[in-house]
């Protein structure tokens, strides 16, 4: 079952067009052959992981199509269900994906879509555990009590147990030490050989560790900017030094060694790239010295690194200083002014009691977001779930049932005033949410944090811990986008493991624990990492309030904004008085 790629683009590269074009044809067409281990290489951000997810039916391609045996995998945003059962994907850092109460539970979850008889499940589980060097005694244990390395093996084992034709692995060497590496290489070769014997399926391994994996690969794909750029055998890749350098994946150790030996006058056939062969070639060249001896600058000290001068002093060259002022353009509105405006308007919106007043508040906040050019994605992220919640709550609040008429549809009614009250309360909150969106979208959370600390610094006289409060507020703002990213990652893992037939991006209710447990663990980990990063940056004690920035004077823009906010507050308060209480 070979895989064919037709004009496939896996990701929109963030650096599209920055790398030099290598003049390769490809245009996204490619073939993954049965019985082969294909290495997927490319610069960071090339879309290698996206390609694996596209091949595994988790994320639809940006454009193009994937064919298994001539059958298209993708129909719109849905993957063909029969093909999903024939592919397995091991994500990066797989140890984070475990969620079940027992090791056995992990296997049950991964094997459920295959509807196997119990004895076959047991056999597959035992074989997969043995294949990854784990003992069947751990089956009743909780995965949480295994060591990091065991958790990783277990996660890989759950995928191996599905015995799919195709196996895709994302960066399997990341975080492995030099001792565990040979075991991994052996396992990969064994998996490839099994598929070769069966005559169907193969392995695709995305990696940046070329030196380790090249020796066991059958074929190499160079992937960049979301597209296939070059394909060939490992021996051919070794000769493509310029190409590797152009795409930031080289020179590899093999290439550098070969180049040095060639420069020393050793006659090297193209296919030679392992230590024994290279040494033999050197020995041969010594027995039959070439006519031409290389020039040797013997005592040249080896330069550890290209000198990348970093001025140690604070002084800035004049040209850079001038440029610096241009680069360091301050945010459009001072953070203190933002906080002030936001607080004033929040006060005004919360004071509204009449629907028209609330509506005015929503329109005002929306207008501010529009003017600040808040990105559409941020709008959607906030608005979409909120709209659903509002609609549901409003409908629910309006429903009533009069038991006097007995259990019948006639007793059910809808009270518009009750629904409106709920709608109004939720809309008022929506206006506040939009104001928060405006507050965070225009300037960075760090500026907001410093603005807050600066505004509140007089409170320190009364022993109010202003700086920690402001830092906490800033970090919470920093943390919020991470939650969305991690949620996306674990829903993809759940889709891949559960062979979900739902539209890409949707999540089944039954997958919620599969997502939520690793998500929470990952968020705790993230918080811990962030705390460590803060500590590592020298933040050991509670920070002192940052010194006032003499350059951060308020310009007319800030005064106008605050004046506008005061005016709007006055309008809102007046509106409250004018409109009759509802």
């Amino acid at each position: 079952m070979p895989i064919l790629l037709q004009s496939l683009q896996s990701a929109r590269g963030p650096d599209a067009g920055q790398r030099p074009s290598a003049g390769t044809p490809a245009d996204g067409d490619g073939e993954l052959r049965d019985g082969e281990l294909t290495l997927l290489i490319g610069p960071v951000g090339a879309g290698k992981s996206s390609l694996l997810r596209t091949l595994a039916g988790v994320v639809p391609p940006v454009s193009g199509q994937v064919y298994y045996d001539g059958q298209p995998l993708w129909r719109g945003r849905r993957a063909a269900p029969t093909l999903l059962l024939r592919v397995g994907l091991v994500f990066q850092s797989p140890e984070q994906q475990l969620f079940a109460r027992t090791v056995q539970g992990e296997f049950h979850y991964s094997l459920r879509p295959y509807h196997l008889p119990p004895d076959l499940i047991a056999a597959r589980t035992a074989a997969a555990l043995a294949g990854t060097g784990l003992n069947t005694r751990i089956l009743s244990q909780s995965p949480w009590y295994l060591s990091g390395g065991q958790r990783r093996r277990l996660a890989v084992a759950t995928t191996l147990a599905t015995a799919t034709d195709w196996l895709f692995l994302d960066e399997p060497t990341a975080g492995l030490d030099a001792l565990a590496l040979p075991q991994l290489l052996q396992t990969l070769q064994q998996l490839r050989n099994e598929r070769r014997e069966q005559g169907r399926g193969g392995l695709v391994v995305a990696t940046h560790d070329l030196d380790a994996l090249l020796p066991i690969a059958d074929r190499v794909w160079l992937w960049a900017n979301g597209r296939l750029r070059w394909t060939g055998t490992p021996a051919q890749l070794v000769e493509q030094e310029a190409l590797c350098q152009a795409y930031g994946v080289g020179p590899t150790e093999v290439q550098a060694t070969r180049r040095a030996l060639l420069a020393a006058g050793v006659d090297l056939p193209g296919e030679l790239w392992q230590a024994e062969g290279l040494a033999a070639a050197v020995a041969a060249s010594l027995q039959f010295p070439a006519n031409q001896l290389p020039t040797l600058d013997a005592d040249r000290p080896w330069d550890a690194a290209a000198a990348l001068e970093c001025p140690a002093s604070d002084a800035l060259p004049p040209a850079l200083a001038a440029e610096g002022t241009r680069l360091a353009e301050p945010s459009p509105l001072d953070a203190r002014a933002r906080w002030l405006c936001c607080s004033l308007l929040t006060l005004g919106v919360l004071a509204q009691t009449h629907p028209l007043g609330v509506l005015f508040g929503v329109l005002l906040a929306a207008g501010m977001c529009l003017r600040a050019r808040t990105p559409v994605s941020a709008w959607r992220r906030v608005t979409l779930p909120y709209t659903w919640m509002t609609a549901f709550s409003t409908l629910f609040a309006g429903l009533y049932w009069q038991p006097a008429t007995g259990l019948s549809w006639h007793g059910l009614g809808f009270a518009i005033p009750a629904a409106l009250t709920t709608l109004q309360a939720l809309l008022r909150l929506y206006a506040v949410v939009l104001l928060g969106l405006w507050l965070t979208s225009g300037s960075s959370y760090l500026a907001l944090q410093q603005g807050l600390a600066h505004t509140l610094r007089h409170l320190e006289r009364w022993r109010v811990p202003v700086a920690p409060l402001a830092l906490g507020a800033g970090l919470v703002l920093r943390f919020i986008p991470c939650i969305g990213q991690e949620l996306e990652r674990f829903s993809q893992i759940a889709r891949a493991r559960g062979k979900s037939r739902a539209r890409a991006g949707a999540l089944r209710a039954s997958d919620l624990p599969v997502v939520m447990i690793p998500l929470l663990a990952a968020l705790f980990q993230l918080a811990e990492d962030l705390a460590l990063a803060l500590e590592a940056r020298g933040l050991r004690q509670w920070p002192a309030a940052p010194p006032a920035d003499p350059e951060a004077r308020w310009h007319s823009a800030e005064w106008r904004a605050v004046a506008g906010a005061v005016l709007a507050l006055a309008c809102l308060l007046a509106l409250r008085e004018v409109l009759p209480v509802c």
């Binding site: 020393a264 010295p289 920093r478 990063a533 050991r540």
Partner: protein, 321 residues
Amino acid sequence: MAAAENPAPVLSLQGVRLTYAHTPEQAVLQGVDLVVYAGEWVAVVGANGSGKSTLGRVAAGLLPVSAGRVQSPPPPGVQLVLQNPDAQGIGQTPLEDVCFGLTQLGVPPAAARQRALATLQAAGLADVANTPLERLSGGQRQLLATTAALAMHPRLIVLDEPTAMLDAAAAARLRAMVAAQQAHGVAVVWMTQRLAELAYASRVVALVAGQKVFDGTPRQFFYADPPALAGYTTSHPNPAQSAGGTPPALSPRPSLQPLSFCRQLGWTPPLPVQVAEALHSRGLCCGDKPLTAQELGECVARLRLAQSRQAAGGLDATLET
């Protein structure tokens, strides 16, 4: 080396033991001695769980130890760079990220901005100074984390597997930046799993199960001769440190060719060293123990030169007779 001019060590660990409260029976670090001088680049290698990361955190002063003495520079003087570039960005743009640390030091914002820009310029990140972090590549973000640490003008920088998530080009850029700082006298402690990176170090320290089992030059690590377990000696007046004793599990196997320390640990050395080993087993020895491809090339060229001289000498001798 700068160490000779300044004999006071930047970092000094003596008999450091560390046990976590939930596993009191198992020490993560078991009496580790480590002295690092200004301008030194010490690479720390060890398997997962050998205590490498813990050692880094102890050296950075982030973990209190159970026993032993730790002398490291006070807070801004030591900086720690972690493996995951995603978890280290504190600011929203590179400029803000570098400024964050500086303002925490009490540098006035305007001066901090200038200093941050100069450091970003030197790191080649000036073009993206105001680009949101999520639009940078992983390599750029890791470069930024290191830049932000270096902008604090530390005397010691500890990097915990900084290149683990980077491609070859980004890893080379990062090493070049750290090497430039090392040339200015900054002491570097570099944890790694990539043995090819040891070539950049002035010293290699190997950890096994929380014990220091090797402390010597990269050449002593990759080549068997002189005896790998010999104590590490320096020209410093106070060579208080020595190899942490022979670990029981690592007695050298009897073999015709003495195994290098790297091989004794069961690790595969980088390709140039492998080629040199293969040459040596064929009786071809170039004497100067190459670590990198370039050194291997020079070594082979020297071998060829010597052989042709020998051939020419032989010819001269025949002519004379």
